[in-house]
């Protein structure tokens, strides 16, 4: 099934099967998590399942990913994540030492993010039932006062800020497939961004769109927002940071870095009057040092993302369909 790698097919599965079955207003808003209130408390709630292979990779492991991924999903709703659940599905015979490593990694990531794993579950299935271990985490937090984040809130004229280099996680996970050896510098960018998000929102609560470009990459994430907000987005190719090693691997295998998964990146849509402030805050934070403006929101063409290329042309960016595969053509 090519549906799991993010992009159009996953989107279609959710749209055509899940939504009709679960139909409700909160789900309909199509955030990365759910936003609702309980007795006046404004909350955000998100879940994700982690099936990454290999389990351990430069810069992280499935455990760190499971914590950071959900922490970030909650934070991207303009919320402070507090509590996580963690469900494990283990293959019979899974090495205890590996499980210990993973759990220690989750603890470390949670500590950095300032969240607690307060409930969970563990199941063991027969050999072959799962591939090693799968982890599901769900997270809940409170949305900051005066903050309203939604994929529908992009407005023409806004600046779009990205906090750093693309494709690092995807490459770190790809590891030595197809005989490629990456320099030591290629390390997953997996990181909890909730601290940085909180700092930005404390200074500029007017921020209305936040998202982390995970599966499907930057292009897919922006395409979704452009469609939800019914705006255009025009990016500047010369401003999008891609390291030479990531670019090289992509050139060799025929991948497009704009569609590679990231686990420590965030996109911020901001009204021009606040751009300087946001950049200043990001630059002072370890996960925002490389932040820069990568493009603007335009009035039209609605629902489209364009990339102004290095020679001054424009390329249209669509959502990712299926997986990227190495090619010769």
């Amino acid at each position: 099934m090519a549906h799991g790698s993010g992009g159009k097919l996953s989107h279609d599965l959710v749209k055509n099967i899940m939504w009709p079955a679960f139909a409700n207003e909160i789900l309909g808003e199509m955030h990365d998590g759910a936003q609702f209130a309980i007795h006046g408390a404004r909350l955000a709630f998100s879940t994700d399942s982690y099936v990454v292979k290999p389990l351990f990779f430069p810069g992280g492991d499935i455990g760190k990913l499971a914590v950071c991924g959900t922490v970030n999903d909650v934070a991207m709703n303009g919320a402070v994540p507090l509590y996580l659940s963690a469900g494990f599905i283990l293959e019979e015979g899974f090495p205890i030492e590996s499980l210990q490593r993973i759990v220690a990694s989750m603890h470390k990531a949670a500590a950095e993010a300032g969240v607690h794993i307060v409930t969970g579950d563990t199941k063991v299935v027969e050999k072959g039932g799962v591939d090693g271990v799968y982890i599901n985490t769900a997270g809940i937090g409170y949305r900051l006062d005066g903050v309203h984040i939604s994929g529908q809130n992009a407005r023409p004229g806004q600046d779009i800020i990205l906090n750093g280099y693309l494709g690092e996680h995807a490459l770190a996970v790809m590891g030595e497939r197809h005989g490629l050896t990456f320099p030591q510098s290629v390390v997953s960018d997996c990181a909890p961004l909730n601290g940085l998000v909180a700092q930005i929102l404390a200074a500029v609560p007017q921020i209305s769109v936040l998202r982390d470009p995970t599966r499907g990459g930057l292009a897919t994430t922006l395409a979704e927002i452009a469609m939800q907000s019914e705006v255009g987005i025009l990016l500047d190719e010369t401003q999008i940071p891609i390291s030479p090693a990531v670019q090289a691997a992509c050139d060799i295998l025929g991948f497009d870095p704009l569609y590679l998964a990231n686990e420590g990146k965030m996109i911020v849509f901001v009204d021009k009057e606040y751009t300087g402030q946001v950049l200043k805050i990001m630059h002072s934070h370890s996960y925002g040092e490389q932040a820069r403006i990568i493009g603007q929101v335009t009035e039209k063409p609605t629902g489209q993302v364009g990339l102004r290329t290095i020679i001054g042309g424009v390329r249209l960016l669509d959502m990712l369909i299926g997986d990227q595969l190495p090619r010769i053509c």
């Binding site: 197809h178 490629l180 010369t238 063409p301 290095i310 020679i311 424009v314 390329r315 595969l325 010769i328």
Partner: protein, 366 residues
């Protein structure tokens, strides 16, 4: 390799944009590129945005995946269903539709199909699985064919007996000839494939000038290479002096890669071939020579292939010949889209229709 700052690239591009506009004037000119990688490079660089509307860039039959007939895919799919077979393929082939399925679907259903970056990886797979038959899907033009030949020779040298190739290589110059001989072809100049030329050199294209007086330039793949290629073609057209030029001198020597050509020639010989959407073109493909048939999948592994069905309404052939734009086909964007392609042009990333769909009709209407 070209160390230029973004600013420098942009300014050089501006020079070409101006010159191209001035050379083209109001004259309508149709230039054809014959390499799927050029199709994608042109879209990715946003080149059409910089050209006057009178300069039309069309894509010819340069995507080897797109011109592979249904029958080949059906054969590969039939092989993949045999439990003792491991299929090894480039990623490009995975979503190409056969008559009723594709390799991606077969893989999801449990067939042993492995994606490689280099066909050489097949040999390790064959050695590690001595009880299996490893079949490599050998497609591609002259850039890739010598590599398939080299891997067959490596298998021979290493005494590997369970490696086979299912070959469907195609050759560019015969396709260009067939194109120019067709009545309804109207092309004012060719952007020739830089990496195919790195292998075959310049000589195989001389007939374009000698017999057909059609301007042709061998072009690289950087945005500036492509702009310069278009500029050189327009200069030729304006001066009415068709020539064969080499824009990609840093990679393409006059004689190509003679070792690669000899390697190819040792294992393969020319044969008639069927091009999807075009039909049979004489001596436009490659077949394994008799003394290497022990590596030929079809000779050694019996297989039953379903009856090939072509899809009705698909106008890939006309698209491949550059006679219509994808948007002229009623299936385009409707029943034929990248996620459920009908014809080959929509399947490969480099297929004209897929590139058109994914990258837009070339112009940002902002």
């Amino acid at each position: 390799m070209l160390n230029m700052t973004n600013e420098q690239v942009k300014k050089t591009a501006e020079f070409f944009k101006r010159e191209i506009a001035s050379l083209a004037g109001s004259r309508k000119v149709r230039l054809m590129e014959v390499c799927g990688t050029h199709t994608v490079a042109i879209f990715k660089a946003g080149i059409r945005q910089l050209l006057p509307v009178s300069v039309e860039l069309v894509s010819g039959p340069g995507c080897p995946v797109c011109v592979t007939p249904n029958e080949y895919l059906d054969t590969a799919i039939a092989y993949s269903k045999q439990p003792e077979v491991i299929i090894v393929t480039f990623g490009d082939m995975l979503k190409v539709p056969g008559s009723s399925s594709n390799l991606g679907l077969q893989k999801a259903a449990g067939a042993d199909i492995r994606i490689v970056y280099s066909p050489q990886e097949s040999l390790a797979i064959a050695t590690e699985n001595p009880d299996k038959k490893v079949i490599f899907l050998a497609v591609g033009f002259e850039t890739t064919a010598p590599i398939a030949a080299a891997v067959i020779l490596m298998a021979e040298q290493a005494g590997i007996k369970n490696f086979y190739a299912l070959s469907a290589h195609k050759l560019v110059p015969p396709a260009l000839r067939a194109l120019l001989m067709a009545k309804d072809t109207h092309v004012d100049g060719f952007l020739l494939p830089g990496h195919v030329s790195a292998m075959i050199g310049m000589q195989p294209y001389e007939f374009l000038i000698e017999e057909f007086h059609t301007p042709a330039v061998v072009v690289g793949f950087e945005p500036l290479d492509i702009l310069q290629g278009i500029y050189l073609l327009l200069k030729q057209i304006q001066a009415d002096t068709p020539k064969l030029e080499n824009q990609y001198g840093r990679i393409v020597p006059q004689r190509g890669n003679e070792v690669a050509c000899a390697t190819l020639d040792k294992v393969y010989e020319r044969a008639d071939a069927t091009w999807r959407g075009i039909g049979s073109i004489p001596l436009s493909g490659l077949a394994i020579r008799e003394n290497y048939l022990s590596f030929d999948a079809k000779t050694n592994i019996p297989v039953r292939v379903e009856n090939t069905k072509e899809h009705v309404g698909c106008r890939c052939g006309e698209v491949l010949r550059g006679n219509i734009l994808p948007t002229a086909c009623i299936l385009f964007g409707n029943s034929c889209r990248p996620e459920h392609p009908v014809g080959s042009c929509m399947v490969s990333v480099e297929g004209t229709c897929a590139a058109w769909y994914k990258y837009g009709a070339g112009r940002w209407q902002g």
